[in-house]
Structure formats: structure tokens, C-alpha cells
Amino acid sequence: MTDSVGSQRKKIHPHKFTLWVALASIIMMFAGLTSAYIVKGSMPGWINISLPKLFYYSTGAILLSSVTIQLAEKAFKERNRPRYRSLMTVTVVLAIAFIVFQLYGFKELYNSGIKMEGSGAGQFLYIIFGLHILHVLGGIVALIVMFLKSYSGKIRSYNPVPVEVMTTYWHFVDFLWIYLFVFFLLKM
């Protein structure tokens, strides 16, 4: 059996692989929604909107958070705990900033008269971006759990897999946002 574990060393870790499959699944969900947007957008009576500038700021925040989490992973692998913790903190702050920008973006849109009634670009935006926020929130919860774990005195784990899984997920929500943002920009 040691052999069978040995032969698995070359392979991707099952948890990482599971994450990749889960990401494919999330992509399908957003692909479904953006296809619905395209189908609906080609029908008569479609109402377009212009994107609030705030979404550019949030894009900056989430892009930056991808950089900080990558550095945090590097610090973790170098066993530099204090640096790892501070970079994780910065990532969480940037993530929260992203969500705040998004919500203010929604507010601006709402105040400009795009309410929930109807089924145009605005309503799709609320739902699609809102679902993306939920995925970011899930990531924040996981980040905070990992952050707190790094303070646990009992077990000092240097296992990089959870950190790598977290980083991959985080890059994914970043990538997903870029996809959605570019999609909406092109469709405006």
C-alpha cells in the first residue's frame, strides 16, 4: 500500500482535483446565465444600461487581491508565518473592498432608475454580479478560517495543499469576475 500511495505522489492531489471539477461546475452555472443574457438580449424589448465607473475600482481591488494571495502562498511555503498572516489580512481587506464597491455600483445603478422590474441588462447584472459576490463571500469565509487556523498553537501544519486550494479558488473568482465584467462591457 505504501507503493500505491507512492504512485499517487506524481498525481494531482484529490482535493485540488475536486476543486477543479467544482470550478468547471461553477463555470457552467455562469455560462448558463450569460447564455440566457445573450438569448434574451436578441429578443425585442431589450433594455440596455451603462456600467457605473465603480466596477472599474472593484476590478482593481480583486486583481490586487489575486497578487496578495499569491504572495501569501509563497510566504507560507517559505514558512514565513508573520508575512503569510499579514498578506492574508490584506487579501481579506481587498476582498471586502471589492464587495463594497460592487454594492455601491448596484446602488448607483438602482438610483439611476434600474429597478428589479423588467428583464433587461440591469436585472441580469444584479443577479449575475450578485451570484458572483456570493462566491467571493464564500471565499472570504474560507480565507478567515485559514487565517485563524494559522494562529492555532496545537498543530503547526506546513501542508501546502489547503493554501494552494484556497489560492486557486481565489484566482478563479478573480478570473470569473474579469469574464463577467468584459462580457457586460462588450454587451453594453
Binding site: S4, P14, M29, G32, S35, E117, Q123
Partner: protein
């Protein structure tokens, strides 16, 4: 070495070094709760899915008996119905509203809770680790969550049966506007909210399960178990999981938009609607067809999510009980793959009558008819596996044979319906009901029964009673044909679906006696299913004990475990695999298990 190292992969091997010398499987203290309720053992989770699925099947089946009672005897009243259904069957006659609710719930329960949750939940969980040589799933915890989300979904769905306005009644496909407007019907009110909640939980359960099945098959195989040595069951369950993981999220997107239409005032699916007694609705600019696209993008793969596990199990059981290698192993894998791809490209054949562009329709006709090719390959290979075989008519084998028979008969009518020109006439008639019940309903049930009869000795260490099994098989097979065959004629005569009473309808009055006949057979078949359930539970405690490790003389790895395997499956090391799973009747030997090394002068293939 502790089995945890294998469960969690390489990274935690270091931290478990201390346990290396331990060889026992049960080194956790197991309480009743951790062993039977919140279990992380894939075998227990499989049984949880199976028994929940059986309870659902009884509920869903009973619903069909109730509305068949109405269809068969529209002029009679049954006072006992009022006892069961209360005000939904005043005076012993099912109300129109309740008739629709029963039909809707029958579809939802059977399609999702029995033939998806109950079927892949059971056999993917049970067979994947055992047949690939793993101690458990890639993530036993997610696996446990998968069952408990399913349980939660079941509770919410059942609770919708008891709300004042009744369960959802707009059809299992939940088309708007009936599903989107609370004003549209009583069932569209809180019943529909519970329906969506239950389905959302169900989707989460399926996704968690599917993720696990895929990463387990790809990452946790024992030494020597290359993908091309996998039993066909595993290939089928693998493709099933892939289909689920890629199509259920799209259904969820559809449901999310539906929820917003219901509660937030959006109108993605709604436009220009006037409800009598309520007045015009505010919603404008939506498209009900949009929902159909999102729904059927899941809905068609869903058909294969139901069918592929049955195909995989039938392939395995046919080969074992024919004492012959499966014919065309690679063609079987290739056709499963082709079906999985095509499953995503044919959804609009459910929508030929929605005003779909005829050119687009013809593309979907072509893609749909292409599915006949891999399906025919599979049928050909099953039949050639049986050709000149030493067939052992075990109950599992009988059900596998029944599966092949039903798949052929139901598949042939699919060729009719896949043609948009014919579908325009046949759509919404009993022909469609007959087609899909035979090809995916009953045949998937036969695959499931085959699996239960075949792997029951591994699940419980006892056999099911054979006499009851034979009664179960013959009555169910004859009954399935007697129920659904006549429906083809009704459908060809134009008899539409979704009506509760045809007796005042000049064109279809002639079928009154036929409907009575169908209803009677349905009741008999349902009674036989109760016999099966009795056999199942009776045999858990009183069945004949399994005394040999490998009662069917089968090649696959699950039969190398102890008769009642513990958590971790193999007490010692996991066996190494040296050959494919189908070395039957080879070189003068009846069977050669997968873990037996290749002999010096053995002939190929192995």
C-alpha cells in the same frame, strides 16, 4: 498503515507516520451515530441513498396508482381516497387540482429523487471505491454532506405535500408561467417555493456527490488499475457524474431567474399575462421559452444521468452471468463517451413545438438521431455478449436482460419522436408517455433492480429471496409492457396527455376499457414492488447468509473484500490489479479475478 493516508492522499502521509504499523481497519471508535447516521463510510452512505430512494419510489409509485385510479375509473368514486387525501378528494374523487399535483410530484420524485439520487447515489457510492480499489471516496466528508443535502431536499419536498395550498402542480418541468406566478394556481403558491428550495438542495447534493465520484475515479485507483481496466460500471458512473456536474448548475441558473420572477418582480420568463379572476399581470418583456432552454439543457443530460448507471450495471451483470467477456469493451466505453457528448447537444428536441426555427429544428433532429448510433452499438454488444453464452439466470441477470429488452423497445420509439415532423403530431400525446417511461423510467428501474439483486450479497452479507425475486421480475416485466405498450396506440390515435377524464370526449371514449386495463395492471405491478421492498428488508436480517467471498464468481475487486467489509474495505493491503475485469472463460478457466497476475503462457487479451 492507517487507511487515512490513502483517503487523504500523499500530503498527509507525513503527519500519519505514527500510525504506520497499525493494520486494523476499525481503529476509530464508532458510535451508532457515526456508524449509521452521520457515517463517512461510502458503503453506509450508499445504503442511506438506497433506502431513502426506496421510500421515495413507494411514495412516487403510490401517486401514480392514485391518478391511474382516476384515469381508469373516471365515473366511480373511492371513499378511501378521501381518507388519504382529505379535501383533495372530496367524495372519493380526486380533484382536478390534486390530479395535476399528483402527476407533477410523481414526475419530480421519480426522475430526481429515485432515479438520480437513489440510483447514482447508491451505486456510485457503493461501487466506485470497491471496484477501483480505494478505501473510500476522495472526500468522505463531502460525500456525507451529499447525502444530508439529499435528505434535506427530501424533507422539504415531502413537506410541500402538506401545505394548505398543496404541492406544486404545474408539471415536473416547472414551466413558467405556472411556476412563476403564485396567482396562476394553488400549487404555484408556497408549494412551488418549497419545490424550488428542495430542488436547489437536491442540485447541491448531486454536485457534491458528482465532484467526489469524478475525482475518486480519476485519482484513487489502486496500483495497476488503469482507466482501460475499469469495469464498465465505473465508466458509466463516471460519465454520469460528468453529465451531472456540467448540467445541474445550468438548471440552478434557470431556477435562480425563476425565483427572482416569483419574488423580486423581474420578468425574465413572463410577458403579457392575463389570469382570469385576477386580471392582467404587470410582467412584461420576458420569454417563457428561455426557461425551457435552460431547463432542457439540464433536462436532456438528466435522461442519461438516469440511464447510464443502468447501462453500466447491466453490462457488468450480463458479462458475469454469461461467463463471457463483455463484447467490444472499448466500443462500450466509446459509446458511453459519445452519448455523454451528444447529451449536451440535443436539448431542443423537447422544444420542437415551441415555434423553434425549423432550420434549427433540423439540426437538432440530426444530432438526436445520431444518438441511435452509440445506443445501437451498446445493444449490439450486449446481444453479442449473450450470444452462445452459458447464461446463469440469477435475478440480477434477469433484470439486466429485461433492461436490454426495454431499452430496445423504448429506444425505437425515440427514433419516431426525434423527428421534428413526427413529433409535431405525437408531442403531448400518450405516445411520448409510453416512450419515456419505457426507455428511461422502467429500464432504469430494471438496471437498478439488477444492481440491487447482484450487489445485495456485498451490501448485507446475505442473499435476497429468489422466489420472491422471480415473481418480482416476471410480473414487473410483463406489467411494464402491458401498461406502456397500449399507450403507444392511444398516442398514435392522438389521445393527449395531462387530462384527468376522457369519458366525455367523443374521439377517445373508445379507450375507456383500455385505460381500465392499464390502471389494473399498474396496481398489480405496484403491489409486486411492495413484495420487493418486503424481500429487501426481510433479507437484511433473515436472508440466506453469504458463505463465500465471491458468490457470483466475478472478476472485479469488490469480491476480494471480506464478506462484510469494514470501513476501509480491505483489512490488509489493497489488491493490485493485473488485468481487465472481463477475463471469463479464458484458457480453460471459468474466470480470472483482476488481482491475479498474468500467467507465463496466457493468451491475450488481459
Amino acid at each position: 498503515m492507517s487507511h487515512e493516508a490513502a483517503l487523504h492522499g500523499h500530503s498527509e502521509v507525513i503527519s500519519h507516520d505514527a500510525h504506520h504499523d497499525e493494520h486494523h481497519v476499525h481503529h476509530h471508535k464508532e458510535t451508532f451515530i457515526s456508524k449509521y447516521v452521520f457515517s463517512m463510510d461510502h458503503k453506509t452512505i450508499a445504503k442511506q441513498f438506497l433506502i431513502s430512494g426506496m421510500i421515495w419510489a413507494l411514495i412516487g409509485g403510490l401517486m401514480s396508482v392514485l391518478f391511474r385510479l382516476q384515469l381508469g375509473y373516471p365515473d366511480q368514486s373511492f371513499p378511501f381516497l378521501e381518507d388519504i387525501l382529505g379535501r383533495w378528494a372530496k367524495g372519493g374523487r380526486i380533484s382536478a387540482e390534486n390530479y395535476y399535483a399528483l402527476v407533477t410530484m410523481h414526475g419530480t420524485v421519480l426522475v430526481f429523487f429515485v432515479l438520480t439520487g437513489g440510483l447514482s447515489g447508491t451505486f456510485a457510492n457503493f461501487l466506485i471505491p470497491l471496484q477501483i480499489g480505494a478505501r473510500d471516496m476522495a472526500s468522505p466528508f463531502l460525500n456525507m454532506l451529499s447525502y444530508w443535502f439529499f435528505f434535506g431536499a427530501s424533507i422539504v419536498m415531502i413537506s410541500s405535500l402538506f401545505v394548505q395550498t398543496g404541492p406544486f402542480s404545474g408539471g415536473w418541468t416547472a414551466y413558467p408561467p405556472l411556476s412563476a406566478l403564485g396567482e396562476a394556481s394553488p400549487g404555484s403558491k408556497v408549494g412551488m417555493d418549497l419545490w424550488i428550495t428542495a430542488m436547489a438542495l437536491f442540485v447541491v447534493s448531486s454536485l457534491l456527490g458528482g465532484l467526489n465520484y469524478i475525482s475518486t475515479v480519476l485519482n484513487m485507483r489502486t496500483k495497476g488499475m488503469s482507466m482501460t481496466r475499469l469495469p464498465l460500471t465505473i465508466w458509466a458512473l463516471f460519465f454520469t457524474a460528468v453529465l451531472g456536474v456540467l448540467s445541474f448548475p445550468v438548471l440552478l441558473s434557470g431556477f435562480i431567474l425563476l425565483l427572482f420572477d416569483r419574488h423580486a418582480g423581474t420578468s425574465f420568463y413572463l410577458s403579457d399575462i392575463f389570469i382570469s379572476g385576477v386580471g392582467p399581470m404587470d410582467h412584461e418583456g420576458g420569454s417563457a421559452i428561455l426557461f425551457q432552454h435552460l431547463f432542457w439543457f439540464l433536462g436532456h443530460p438528466e435522461v442519461y444521468i438516469i440511464l447510464l448507471p443502468a447501462m453500466g450495471m447491466a453490462s457488468e451483470i450480463l458479462s458475469v452471468n454469461s461467463r463471457k467477456p463483455i463484447f467490444g469493451y472499448m466500443a462500450m466505453v466509446g459509446s458511453l463517451f459519445a452519448i455523454a457528448i451528444l447529451a449536451f447537444l440535443v436539448w431542443a428536441h423537447h422544444m420542437f413545438v415551441t415555434g423553434l426555427n425549423p432550420f434549427l429544428g433540423s439540426v437538432f433532429v440530426l444530432l438526436t438521431l445520431l444518438i441511435a448510433v452509440p445506443s445501437a452499438i451498446k445493444v449490439f454488444n450486449w446481444l453479442t455478449t449473450l450470444w452462445r453464452a452459458n447464461i446463469r439466470f440469477t435475478p440480477g441477470m434477469l433484470f439486466a436482460l429485461g433492461f436490454v429488452s426495454l431499452f430496445i423497445s423504448g429506444g425505437l420509439t425515440g427514433i419516431f419522436l426525434g423527428n421534428s415532423t413526427l413529433d409535431i403530431t405525437l408531442h403531448d400525446t400518450y405516445f411520448v408517455i409510453a416512450h419515456f417511461h419505457i426507455v428511461m423510467g422502467v429500464s432504469a428501474f430494471f438496471g437498478m433492480f439488477a444492481g440491487i439483486y447482484h450487489w445485495y450479497p456485498k451490501m448485507y452479507g446475505r442473499y435476497l429471496n429468489n422466489t420472491m425475486a422471480y415473481i418480482h421480475f416476471w410480473v414487473t416485466l410483463a406489467g411494464a409492457y402491458l401498461i406502456f405498450w397500449p399507450m403507444h396506440y392511444e398516442g398514435l390515435a392522438g389521445m393527449p396527455r395531462r387530462y384527468m377524464d376522457y369519458s366525455n370526449w367523443e374521439s377517445f371514449k373508445q379507450f375507456a376499457e383500455l385505460n381500465k386495463f392499464i390502471s389494473t395492471v399498474a396496481m398489480i405491478v405496484f403491489a409486486v414492488q411492495i413484495l420487493f421492498v418486503f424481500n429487501f428488508f426481510y433479507s437484511i436480517w433473515k436472508g440466506r447468509k453469504v458463505t463465500t467471498q465471491n458468490p457470483w464468481e466475478s472478476n472485479t475487486l469488490e469480491w476480494t473484500t471480506p464478506i462484510r467489509p469494514g470501513h476501509g474495505n480491505w483489512p490488509g493491503e489493497i489488491p493490485e490489479v493485473h488485468r481487465w475485469a472481463y477475463d471469463y472463460s479464458k484458457d480453460g478457466r471459468d474466470f480470472i479475478p483482476q488481482n491475479e497476475p498474468i500467467g507465463p503462457d496466457e493468451t491475450t487479451p488481459h
